[in-house]
């Protein structure tokens, strides 16, 4: 953990902690989602669906090459084009070359985390295209030049007034401080864009290998507009986002809308198989599917493999007590929260996100709620092992734990150390020296009192008791 990196992290944390409105919004959002998800999780059908999801996804990953191959073949058979992008740069290049060839000036996008991961928008803007995010939350953060705050609700950190000001500035007139009015404004603006756009870029919640279908799970309708109106449809998807057959979607559709949005089902589940047929009157004429690796194959077959089973529901963010305090931006990564704390270091390298594995109390709430049965807390802990094993890391911690272990393996040494340290500790705590927020325990005592040390160890008391009672 470099000093500069840690300092920047601390600053982001401070900003979040000091923002009262933000604290309220995040806590309310979490409580709201938990109230919707908890009862569903208690149902027998949920547990059965979660089991199935884990099995289907594990099976898919175990044979991923085969399913990618099958998926690509089927997409092509239905008239789509498939591009295999080894990394972000290749993916960006393919899409921007395509846009350039097609002279695409206006591009509409529906929500796709992987396009943020590969930084697609800036590549398209660099060739002179205008890229418009159409998911309402993404539309808002795009206008504000910010990263999404949450996987499912990108603009949850923005107040009504903040959004009103943003939209009013763009509209050139003062809009009402009313969610309905602001939504209508966005609908009006974006409707024009949908009809005028040359290209629509979407993500893909799941690809179906057996049919070459791309499935989108959405509520607003912008996903459907993006993939229906422009003449070219580009799908960008992570290589792991596949299921073998259409029926495999069932447990996922039972769980994803509930875990992600507290709903029984989203307003739209759309399965797109190839571009429009020759005899159809609407739908894109061309469809391109960009399958992105960008570090995922490295995770495959390794100890963190289960992270690829993520269905991007966001449930982990909705229960994480750390996210509750620091919010999405503090993570400084495309994916925030527990999923981000694992995925980002794995995709980008630990050195890019040195704080993330340590920004967790390992409470296990994420593991408990994850509908894909990813052992998130365990992975966070393991990333710590990778982190301290490799890097220099604070020498003091390593030596400290080694000394501790040496003493712990030698009970007599341990007892002797206690006999010296504990009375000293008692003296310090009695005199208030341990309360003053300075010295080696400052990180604790700056905000918390240290317990009044009793001065005697349990083992010493036990021994005394034994001696008194005799053998």
């Amino acid at each position: 953990m470099s000093v500069a990196s840690r300092k920047a992290f601390d600053e982001r944390v401070e900003r979040a902690l000091g923002d009262e409105m933000l604290q309220e919004v995040i806590a309310e959002g979490q409580d709201y989602m938990q109230a919707l998800v908890e009862p569903a999780r208690a149902e027998a059908e949920w547990a059965a669906a979660v089991d199935q999801i884990a099995r289907i996804r594990a099976h898919t990953l175990a044979h991923l090459d085969r399913y990618v191959d099958q998926f690509a073949t089927n997409v092509e058979e239905r008239g789509g084009h498939v591009f295999f992008a080894a990394d972000a740069a290749e993916a960006r290049r393919y899409v921007s070359d395509l846009a350039q060839r097609q002279r695409a000036k206006l591009i509409v996008k529906s929500k796709s985390m992987v396009t943020e991961e590969i930084e697609l928008n800036s590549a398209l803007e660099a060739i002179g295209a205008k890229v418009v995010e159409t998911d309402l939350g993404e539309f808002i953060v795009q206008m504000a030049h910010e990263r999404p705050f949450h996987i499912v609700a990108p603009a949850i950190h923005k107040s009504l007034e903040q959004i009103r000001q943003l939209f009013s500035a763009a509209a050139g007139q003062q809009l009402e401080a009313d969610a309905r009015a602001l939504t209508d404004y966005a609908r009006g603006v974006l409707r024009e864009q949908f009809f005028a756009a040359d290209m629509g870029i979407s993500g893909c919640n799941f690809g179906v290998a057996a049919t070459g279908s791309v499935v989108l799970v959405t509520n607003e309708g912008n996903g459907r507009m993006t993939t229906t109106l422009p003449r070219t449809h580009v799908v960008v998807m992570g290589v792991e986002r596949l299921v073998p057959t259409i029926e495999d979607l069932e447990p996922i559709l039972r769980v994803l809308p509930r875990a992600g949005a507290g709903e029984r089902i989203t307003a739209y589940v759309t399965a797109i198989t190839g571009p429009r047929r020759d005899d159809e009157a609407d739908g894109p004429r061309e469809m391109h599917v960009v399958i992105v690796d960008n570090g995922r194959s490295r995770i495959l077959g390794g100890k963190y493999e289960k992270i690829l089973m993520c269905i991007r529901c966001g449930a982990c963010l909705d229960v994480c007590p750390v996210y509750r305090k620091i919010g999405g931006h503090a993570y400084d990564s495309v994916y925030p929260g527990p999923i981000g704390a694992v995925l980002s270091p794995l995709l980008d390298g630990l050195e890019c996100h040195p704080e993330l594995p340590f920004a967790s109390s390992l409470c296990g709430a994420c593991t408990e709620v994850c509908p894909a049965r990813i052992p998130l807390a365990e992975y966070i802990r393991e990333l710590r092992e990778d982190s301290v094993g490799n890097g220099p890391g604070p020498l003091a911690w390593r030596l400290g734990f080694q000394a501790f272990a040496a003493a712990a393996a030698r009970p007599r040494l341990w007892a002797a150390a206690e006999a010296v340290a504990l009375p000293f500790l008692r003296l310090m705590s009695a005199g208030g020296a341990l309360l003053n927020g300075r010295g080696p325990l400052a990180a604790w005592t700056r905000s918390r009192d240290f317990p009044r040390a009793e001065g005697t160890s349990f083992r010493a008391l036990w021994r005394r008791g034994q001696d008194r009672r005799g053998p």
């Binding site: 296990g364 911690w397 003493a407």
Partner: protein
Amino acid sequence: MITCLGDALFARVGVATVQVLRNLGVAVDFPAAQTCCGQPAYNAGYRDAARDTARAFLRAFAGSESVVSISGSCAAMVREGFPDLFAGCPEEAAAAELAARTYEFSEFLVDVLGVRELPVSRHARVALHHSCHTRRLLGVVEQPVRLVQMVDGLEYIPLANAEQCCGFGGTFAVKMPRISTAMVDEKVDRILETGADLLVGLDMSCLMNIEGRLRRRGHAVEVRHLAEVLAAGWRA
């Protein structure tokens, strides 16, 4: 299992635990070779140090019929952490065997001893902190509630957002103190909202964190391990 923290800083909790167990007719021994289960090193990512520590722990309890821990998270370390730590090692079988006879205190009383009533009195409004590892890794949720309800005179008030972490998290508390403090602040707020004059818990690490913040914020809520309340209120 007295735990390293219990041994060094909270001997009174160990004493109370022994008392309660003896009152219930259990023959209690303290194998003096025990020191630490290795959880702090394990959670901080220092696997080798954790394993060395845990190995000594295995030896210390090799001869014990049952191991009762005053800390839920330490019991969880033995039950969930040791299988990972010793996977593929010569100690793997011994670790699994130890895990099968290791219990958290309230779990031992309710599930193993079958305690259904207690000759204990204490008059107070009480809130209960479950601690994350006890709840999620051991699945111990009902047991401490039932024990609290067996105490004559205790008025139990459930905490709102009870499943939320208090912010201790081992080295997290000192590595990420600002976040940790924000988390414990919320826990303290929830406790104060209950109007409880007593907070009871199963893990001194969590309780130390919560009490430290309560005091710093100037509140006098009494904080006790469940064993202390049972021992102190035991009617002769």
